[in-house]
Symmetry: D2
Subunit: 366 residues, 4 copies
């Protein structure tokens, strides 16, 4: 009598030999903390081939790839761009360099995967989007969270109508964070919440205004905590709380709809999503001289779906390669990065206006 095993690990499988189209030749700019993760995923992905690593600090780049690596090292972007085997470039450099590096890559005919935010202004982002369009190149934003299975599930729940009509969104992203001197907490943390919202909202539903209020109680010259409040086009309300000063870490987003509510608590591996079937039902009763509303309360089961954990960045690089080979827009294309910048700029405008609601023009979102 023998016992064989299929363990969760073996069942999950491992990198397969690529059987699809020719791998996309990749150049990577930026050998920092995040660049290391991006490089690892390009190396592990069957649909990509990492050819170059470019960093002003060549020794950092050399350390990243290791001694016997086939990946070529350079501190000169032009040298890498001159290699015709490089079809696409991933840019993982500080935001202030995104415009210049991105434009150079696009002009050299390379597809671009850009670290978030796409640029430091709407105007710069528009130039990148327009140039990519003119050149017929893919411009993809690394909105990493959109590639987690949990955010994709939330998107499915909303798009399929399972949540019903969205009523409110509440996002909390707080912890003891790295206080920064160049950007405030809104530009540092809120891109995550905002790009997720952009990704999961159904076609036609957009935030139409934004109010930003915050504080710098430790006098570092930047908001260390902030609240974004955004009326949506259907009458719902979205709220985002970002905070560098919280001793407790919270990573939670709530999407409440007329039929269901989903809570995403990103700190509970294996049980990150919970779907609540409870809420208020409003029934319009036609009657004699006046219509009436009946408000009923519904208390149903809650479900924690089984969602296997996977690395979002692996899905990012796979989507980048697939969108290039299939000649289609990636899930988070340049326009999503542009919309994010429109929201961030409007938030900064509201900040200067002491929290006054600033209109958002997010047309073009399908």
């Amino acid at each position: 009598l023998k016992t064989d095993h299929v363990t969760p690990e073996t069942a999950a499988g491992h990198a397969k030999v690529p059987t699809g189209p020719r791998p996309v030749g990749i150049g990577l700019v930026g050998a920092g903390y995040w660049g290391r993760n991006v490089a690892r995923n390009f190396l592990d992905c069957g649909a990509t081939e990492l050819l170059w690593l470019c960093d002003l600090d060549e020794s950092a780049a050399a350390r990243l790839v290791g001694r016997r690596s086939e990946v070529r090292i350079t501190s000169e972007l032009d040298k890498m761009l001159a290699d015709s085997e490089v079809e696409a470039v991933a840019v993982v450099t500080p935001p202030r360099t995104h415009l210049e590096v991105g434009m150079a890559c696009l002009r050299a005919g390379k597809h671009v995967l850009m670290e978030k935010p796409l640029a430091t202004s709407v105007a710069a982002a528009e130039r990148l989007v327009a140039t990519a369009a003119e050149m017929g190149l893919t411009l993809m934003c690394d909105h990493t969270f959109c590639y987690t299975p949990h955010v994709r599930r939330i998107r499915d729940l909303i798009h399929s109508g399972e949540l019903g009509e969205l009523q409110y969104i509440d996002s909390t992203r707080v912890n003891l964070g790295l206080v920064q001197s160049e950007v405030d907490v809104l530009w540092d943390l809120a891109p995550h919440d905002l790009s997720i919202m952009d990704f999961v909202l159904p076609p036609g539903l957009v935030p139409v205004q934004i109010s930003a209020l915050g504080a710098d109680p430790i006098n570092v010259g930047q908001w260390c905590l902030g609240h974004l409040t955004m009326p949506l086009s259907n009458g719902a309300l979205a709220h985002v709380h970002v905070n560098w000063l919280s001793p407790t870490k919270i990573r939670q987003m709530v999407f409440a709809g007329s039929r269901r509510m989903v809570v995403w608590n990103d700190l509970v591996p294996g049980r990150r999503l919970t779907i609540f079937d409870a809420g208020i039902d409003v029934t319009h009763v036609e009657g004699d001289e006046r219509a009436r509303r009946m408000v009923g309360y519904r208390l149903g089961d809650s479900v924690t779906p089984a969602i296997p954990e996977s690395e979002a960045l692996a899905a990012v690089v796979a989507e980048f390669a697939a969108s290039i080979r299939e000649d289609r827009a990636p899930l988070t294309d340049g326009r999503s990065g542009l919309r994010l910048l429109r929201v961030l700029e409007a938030a900064s405008m509201s900040r200067r206006g002491h929290g006054a609601l600033v209109p958002l023009e997010l047309d073009g979102r399908e």
Copy 2:
């Protein structure tokens, strides 16, 4: 435009005028803490009429019913039993009095609801059960937890086959408890776990042995913590941990089956049950010269069912009245109380035998 409301409270409804059979005339013996709860529920129940309250301390009884009450007070049991309007008696007195009081009631032709445990020995419990059977009277045990909606749901999950074949049971009932000098922690707390097990196990599945180990680390002359381990007739294993010394309170029972597992955490109102669809699937593969087993792992959703909260004791008194009027055995009849005592006595025997497994004879359970 007007808005009407159906709130959770109004939807739950209130005591209705009884429209069923004639209410059962009730005498209650015992005006202590639990007697007060029992009295309140007899008064609130449309199917019962509380006629007498009997306690050696008449003034305690008088305080319990209040000044203008119609309920008659006495310290003499016989006086109450002589009232022909009293059809049934609830006994809420210390266990050592159960045999004498219960026999007096049964001999007077009264149905009996007995506080747990039914008696202090199997022999005494057998006399009560036999006498009730001879007299054709209802003998019901107040195994209160069996009347919570959560335990009934667990019973349904098991009896319907939804959990599959039971594999193990694990119960934890620990807190900073009242250290007692007359009974040990097994007799004090484990009746809850054991009566619940008796209630939810499917027909034919019984514990077949019991081992009891415990300790008295604070030297009060009684076990203050104990572990009961019980092999079941299908090869599963049940374990119960009871403890008076735990600074943290835990009230948890796990029923793990081959298809589902249910966890009952009684300290989380509104979310007391969680059903896990995860486990190990063993497949027997017929092959060449030898059979093989494939062990597979299944990770599914978990569900927290919506179960309205309700008072178990209200269901106890309603079941008592219904079983009398419908001339049927109550859900927790005298035999369930007798089985509980068989387990407790075997546990005590195992205690004296230093944890050796003692066989259990729980025949007669359908």
Copy 3:
């Protein structure tokens, strides 16, 4: 060898025979849900004597007190006020009646305990406060939460300096609530958060502006969810989220200071408060040509203090009686109720101004 017990219950003690000054004669107006709780606490309090219960529905009042009660019943307020034994009146009626009933009581020379909110407008509240002052009478607001041991502990932590300088406050009060047609969610729920903030903030620290944004996604004609954001006079920021539409119930307030943070989760009996010793330390370093800031991170223990549970309303009625007998302002006097109305009116003004910050004038707070 005998074992005696001091159980948590007996140790907590019970109502003592009053040995202090003569009990305060009380009239109660309002026999509804909350009136029932207030009545019970006046009856249980050794420092008060409940003499009258007044309600337009005399039969409701009669049911509340029971048949053999000494408490007199009336539907005529004047009759009750004419009784010279009535020294003080508790008003537990709908807010729109507070001004008229309160003024009648004060003019009749009675001290007043007013259910929150004190009135429906600042102007009305000012009349009540001014009249009480003129008449030399106590006017107390039933800001019940301020009398929980947990809020008092938070107040102590802040006033003693243990939290350090307040940096932000974040309050969440959401659940599936009773959707109301007369008041919005701000006026319904936020009085709790705002009165608690008023109670615990140290002398001199006040909110200086308020922004209110909300939504009515189910079209009942009132905001069903709302966000209040309030800059404080020291540069900190307070935020309150109230919501009738949340399937999950949350009752949480966070007070973050430069030295400690306290989190109050009111749904976890026995462990409602947690104090975190973690945060960011900013050190100003004097140097050569320019000052610099060092930002350091501190990760310390967290503590859940043992705080015995007690009924807040018992402390409310005791404080009412004590403030009358000691001829001093109660902890939550009319001015605290007036400040609450100033904030609520400013919130409504901000609502009409689409979330624009509205200045708050909360002078007079010591």
Copy 4:
């Protein structure tokens, strides 16, 4: 004005250049999953120098060290042992090989770090311990959990007397585990709980008996769940529940003492330990004709200490090197591995004896 940062990461520091004694030359046997972790930690440790990697599968060993590594590869143990620069060997092979490999290393004059369990029988373990003693060599067991900061804190709490007299231990190690055909769940999982207990118990306090009960409800030929119950020499009781079939994962140990209780929940990073200051105080009152006991209840604060996370295996290899250079017994020496095997063998004996208590002889523990 400039802002410098000391982040939690930079504050934690990085591997320093070793300034201590000459690094210990290491040979590693076993290139599997755990061997990979051990190798990484020997490479990262300033006090060790990994010289050889030995595995029957040379290609697996080669993959582990990488192409340009200085670490030599062999499939022949003798070749590695012949290298006089190898002072010590870490054995990370299946338990059935421990005796042979370990004896070969010791006879070659090498110190040995042995993966748990030390051997597959007490007799084999005794030979290893005796041989190491004769040769004057270090024999250390890789009881990894003992090198977590949390277990060390628990040990400190117990040894310092802060917990008071131990009253009970309760350990739960359950999850959906890899069902094994060679060993049962006791030999697979309980070594963790038992080696931790051995490590933290104060001098002189030992388990004196053991009872083992378990079940194989899925018919794989091995116990898939088991309960160990162990009376301790001071009257306390330890209990261990190990289980391969639980859909929910629990890793919890409770150490309850007369003064404090510590709960270690290993699945909550950053808050793994909680210390409860609550319990029962028994006071012996000398009186007239009989002594009496007063039982009092104490409810105090609970504390979650800030304990930085660190990799236990790094501490294991550091302790191995330090114990060699300082010529002292390591924290978990061969005798601790021997005691573990005595408990496991006694558990197996109790299993064969249907749970009967089997005496433990754990003398020699200081």
